[in-house]
Amino acid sequence: MDNIWTRKRYPGRFASVAAVLAGVLAPPSPAFAMHISEGILPASWAVLWYIVAIPFIALGLRELRRRNEAFPYFKPLVGLVGAAVFLISCMPIPVPTAGTCSHPAGTGLAAILIGPGLTVVVASIALTLQALFLAHGGLTTLGANIVSMGVAGAYVGYGAYWIIRRLGLPWVMAAFLAGLLSDWATYAMTSFELAAALHGSGSFSAMFSLILIAFVPTQLPLGILEGILCVGALKFVRSRKPELLRMAAAGGAA
């Protein structure tokens, strides 16, 4: 008797069920976040990071309108990538080497697939929902979290992929480094934001280094994991629907 759920016969259905199950099962506990929590940044810094984030969001929205008219599959691709970024950035992963939890951001992969501008938009939506309903991040710190996860993560990941491909190196290396560096850039930017706001009369560089070093035991392995995730996802897209990457190339990196 045929099993309609076998991957060989119905890979799309299998993957859909897997996606829903992953969505339900992936966030096993909501308490392990990485975004800057409500009230941590002083008001002046919170406003500054909003001012920095807004032009990037505006650029992304303009790109969404332009590319949506040009490519028929663009809307579902943005929907899929947006949902993936939301789920990935909700997903705490225990890191045995550090005894702590943190989560990948998914913005490196998103930037390769839909471009860094649109990645800022989907990351902003994900972060807003998390700040509003999931006690994850905060509304006053939303601008800072958008800049670290959305802007820094997306543009560094995209830049790494673009440069490595232009150098003629293999796509696997480009995808891995895009995922890895986007993750590390997110936490480096978070360290910068915290140090800039909280160093007081002390040294900014000393506090920045201390925070960055404190992130290393957790984020070093998680960055590698994010690189592997990025390679796996890109390999799947290349084998199943390479035209999506050509569409992405028209707006950016691939």
Binding site: Y10, G12, G23, V24, P27, F32, L77, C90, L194, F215
Partner: protein
């Protein structure tokens, strides 16, 4: 086969995390607590309650479940649009 091995390795690493000796000793707190809030408290800033505080009892688990279902549904729906199932020659619908 390679994909399955990769998934198994990944799942094994995740499951091994809480089971390893380091894991039993560790608190498994998020880096928001172990890094961000620690440095903020040293600088005299403390995190305050979210404006909509769902972190009460099991309410947060419920909200995360709803978010997971909604996110998983949107991801799955768009995945099906982008990667429709392949129809083979032996498929009963391929006539």
């Amino acid at each position: 086969m390679k994909g399955a091995l990769l998934i198994l390795t990944f799942a094994g690493l995740l499951l091994a995390g809480p089971a390893c000796p380091t894991g039993r000793a560790a608190s498994w707190s998020g880096v928001d607590e172990t890094v961000i809030e620690k440095f903020a408290e040293q600088a005299g800033r403390t995190a305050r309650e979210p404006f909509i505080n769902t972190d009460q009892g099991d309410l947060l688990l419920f909200v995360f479940l709803i978010a997971g279902i909604a996110g998983g549904f949107i991801a799955g729906y768009n995945f099906r649009v982008l990667f429709p199932p392949k129809r083979g020659v032996g498929d009963e619908k391929h006539v």
